[in-house]
Symmetry: C2
């Protein structure tokens, strides 16, 4: 497991969703299917370089079967490129996991992170929500902490890399059992301000902060989120924080907050651009496309701001009758978290708005909006290649990987219209047309500006984005995290000695 | 006008709602009626001490008639205590005022200040909202700035006291015409974090900050809101801010942010406690009340969190069958801003929740909830006198005057249950039972704790609150503001000389 070389090290990666999920093929044999999500893609690179044990939740029946067969022990797994790693799947009690995932992590924490709660009405910490917290989120985090602690007993020199908002409590629980462990946490979502954390009762918001502050390093995708974290540590955890070096000093110790925007596996996208399935989808898009194509690719998550995006396109069409028949929007939406009522309602709203738009403007031979609700990754990459304008108008977004993936493979020097509230805006804003996500009129104006931009300017902007992403790819992200961990642990060792 | 004495000074008070509104009595004669709202009450004290010119919007037809007769000049008015002041009413263009008040100030800015927007859906800056901003809020602020500038030409030594979220743009407009003027602004609402200001497109949130930073002093009710203001000035206006002295340095100059929680006219409440109308209302409440009475007094504003408060009382009743028949809630709600759909919907929700609660628990001789939706100030004061528990569970609240008014006149050493998100919590939290506004279970537990608190502890806590409010009454608030203005202007003079 792992490769040789001076930089190889032992890592324990901890995330709710693992790199593979197990299923059965047509012949009834067990197969490992590559898991979805940008995080898993990003972390997969670590497996090539280091001796990785991955701790994750067992998601489906076959995952649970694997976990049961191994009685909680890790299994040896082989990644797509032939490198090996250990995978430890945690089979949680089903009701606890449902509360953990479908009530607390989503929507409660996700909505807090993205400012999505309509606070006059929701959330309410009634008996059920408190139970979901105590018997769901706390219980699952304890289960994770137990497994990580056991792995650390076997390999005390391993560094632990926790990921995302599912696992805020685990680090402090691990720290209690392994005071000298090297712990880090990466937060992939926006870090909201203290007032938003006040949506959670004091014991909960304090536990979240104390959990994170048990790490040596906490990472964010943007300086904006790091700055917010330093402030909430002061407001909520009574810590002192230094904006210059990002060090938070709390009763339990010191934590360094770092900025390391996640990125794309450039090589993978170079290959995908020529993948036969992508080429087939692209041929279909190319055959049907109008002269100008606006593309959006998102999960159907309220944070993605799809309804206002449709409103902006509708306003653009209203103001630009000369473009009727010449411009179209292709919206590829991956249906997301449909077990959660807020998500099902949001998808229904999207579909209503889409029907209204087409009902208003469609004419023989031209349908302005092509809305497709399905999970079709080759089609998404094909759309990336074909856009003239890429619309990313998220309400809030930790990073937004689409804004990095799509320009890499786009073949038309398409223009990026980018929400100021995405983490990616800190990196790419200079070459994008910036929009405020609530400003539908401004988004319509941005579409007009993008669709009439001279080709030379399109080329210059698109080229700059491509060069930036190629120079800051996923390998740099993973190694940057490990380097930050070395700095933090070095500082801790120094302090202990002095 | 004004009284003699060393401390009397010329003041220009600027607020959307003036100290009186004009109407006609039964005989058809013009009468000035005392305006509502805590701000007007608080500022009325200034009239006794200083030479005040008050600039406010003409609200009704008779106000507009007065403004028209004077062709924009001020009228001499006599306050209830015989002191005189000048009143200048601004008759805005009706459509502009409607957009200013009913679209921008409420709900747009009010909801931003109190985190009430359901951001997945609203607000949207469509064409109408942009027009409301430009032709409503901007236009009305320009009209105010013009009037204040004219008053300053006549009295350049006067200090200007702007008030609240209706008038964020006026100070910068005045500063342009009167660079040496002494300007201050008091913000009576919570100051939200930068991310909440990002609900407003960049030109708008920047204009709000630049408007406020044209003042020498900006005041808040709580340290929490001041700290938030210092942060947003850095994030949004590119200023540098010092948390120690509250000085914000921006390209346009220096502004000092101060904390001065508004308070109550103690003398007025001492009198009200024996007012005949109050005594009559109190007799009615006393005759009907059960052994234990929980009281809430609020406008029907979503920020007041009335529905969750009913949920908490319902949960309390569910968990305490032994108290059925012995405890009741009296909710006195002043219907608020019913021209605004969000407010009308919220009142309907309150009424549904109230019916559900009584439907579930009412029995012969005992109705657990008495919900009264009307504006009846003597009845509110009577309820203040009668509560065993006062519930103030606001989602967010700049101060919350009820939490100060009611304990002053309460005759039963009642217990204050107070939201941690009110400005008043910084002053009174130590003697209240603190609740998180989203924690319905926690609020039910707080009601249980309050209703079973030993009398000695009730007495100690209630006495401490009373003493605090008496020691920090409204006179101290007004004079504190003027003293802060002197400090800031002194500092500015020093800087100009040096």
């Amino acid at each position: 497991m792992g490769r040789g070389g001076a930089r190889a090290r032992r890592l324990i990666v901890v995330s709710n969703r693992g790199p593979v999920t197990f299923g059965r093929d047509a012949g009834g044999d067990r197969v490992a299917r590559r898991g979805g999500g940008g995080l898993v893609t990003a972390l997969r690179g670590l497996v090539r370089q280091h001796a990785v044990t991955w701790v994750a939740s067992a998601l489906g029946d076959e995952d649970r079967a694997v976990a049961a067969e191994r009685a909680g022990e890790a299994v040896e797994e082989k990644a797509g490129d032939g490198s090996t790693y250990r995978l430890r799947l945690l089979a949680h009690e089903p009701l606890a996991y449902d509360r953990f995932y479908n009530t607390v992590a989503n929507p409660l924490l996700w909505f807090v992170h993205h400012y999505l709660w309509p606070l006059a009405r929701a959330p309410s910490f009634d008996r059920e929500l408190w139970e979901a917290w105590n018997e769901g989120y706390v219980a699952v985090n304890e289960r994770f902490a137990e497994a990580v602690s056991e792995e650390l007993e076997a390999a005390p020199d391993a560094a632990v890399l926790f990921h995302d908002y599912h696992l805020y409590l685990a680090p402090a629980l691990v720290r209690r059992r392994a005071p000298a462990a090297v712990l880090s946490h990466f937060v992939h979502v926006p870090w909201p301000a203290s007032d938003s954390w006040h949506v959670l009762p004091e014991p909960i918001r304090r536990a979240v902060h104390e959990g994170l502050l048990a790490n040596d390093v906490v990472g964010f995708h943007a300086e904006r989120w790091r700055r917010s974290f330093l402030r909430t540590c002061e407001d909520i955890a009574g810590a002192s924080a230094s904006p210059t070096d990002g060090v938070v000093t709390a009763p339990g110790g010191r934590t360094r907050a770092v900025v390391a925007p996640i990125s794309v596996d450039v090589g993978e996208y170079d290959e995908l651009a020529h993948d036969v399935r992508v080429l087939a989808e692209e041929a279909a898009i190319a055959a049907a496309r109008p002269e100008f194509l606006v593309v959006r690719v998102d999960r159907t998550d309220p944070s993605k701001n799809i309804v206002r995006g449709l409103g902006a396109f509708e306003l653009y069409l209203e103001e630009h009758p000369e473009m009727h028949g010449r411009v179209g929007m292709l919206a590829l939406l991956d249906p997301s978290r449909q077990d959660i009522p807020e998500y099902a309602e949001y998808l229904a709203e999207i579909e209503r708005a889409a029907r209204a738009l087409n009902g208003r403007f469609e004419r023989a031979g031209w349908r302005p909006l092509d809305l497709q609700v399905q999970d079709n990754f080759p089609q998404a990459v094909a759309a990336y290649k074909q856009y003239d304008v890429l619309l990313v108008n998220a309400i809030f977004d930790g990073l937004n990987l689409v804004a990095k993936e799509a320009p890499l493979v786009n073949g038309r020097d398409g223009v990026l219209v980018l929400s100021e509230n995405t983490g990616a805006h800190e990196e790419l804003g200079a070459w994008a047309i910036t929009v405020n996500p609530f400003d539908v009129k401004g988004q319509a104006a941005a579409l007009a500006e993008a669709l009439s931009m001279p080709l030379a300017e399109r080329r210059a902007r698109a080229g700059a984005i491509r060069r930036h992403v190629r120079a800051h790819d996923i390998a740099a992200w993973a190694e940057g995290q490990l380097a930050a961990l070395d700095v933090a642990v070095g500082a801790r060792a120094g302090r202990i000695i002095s």
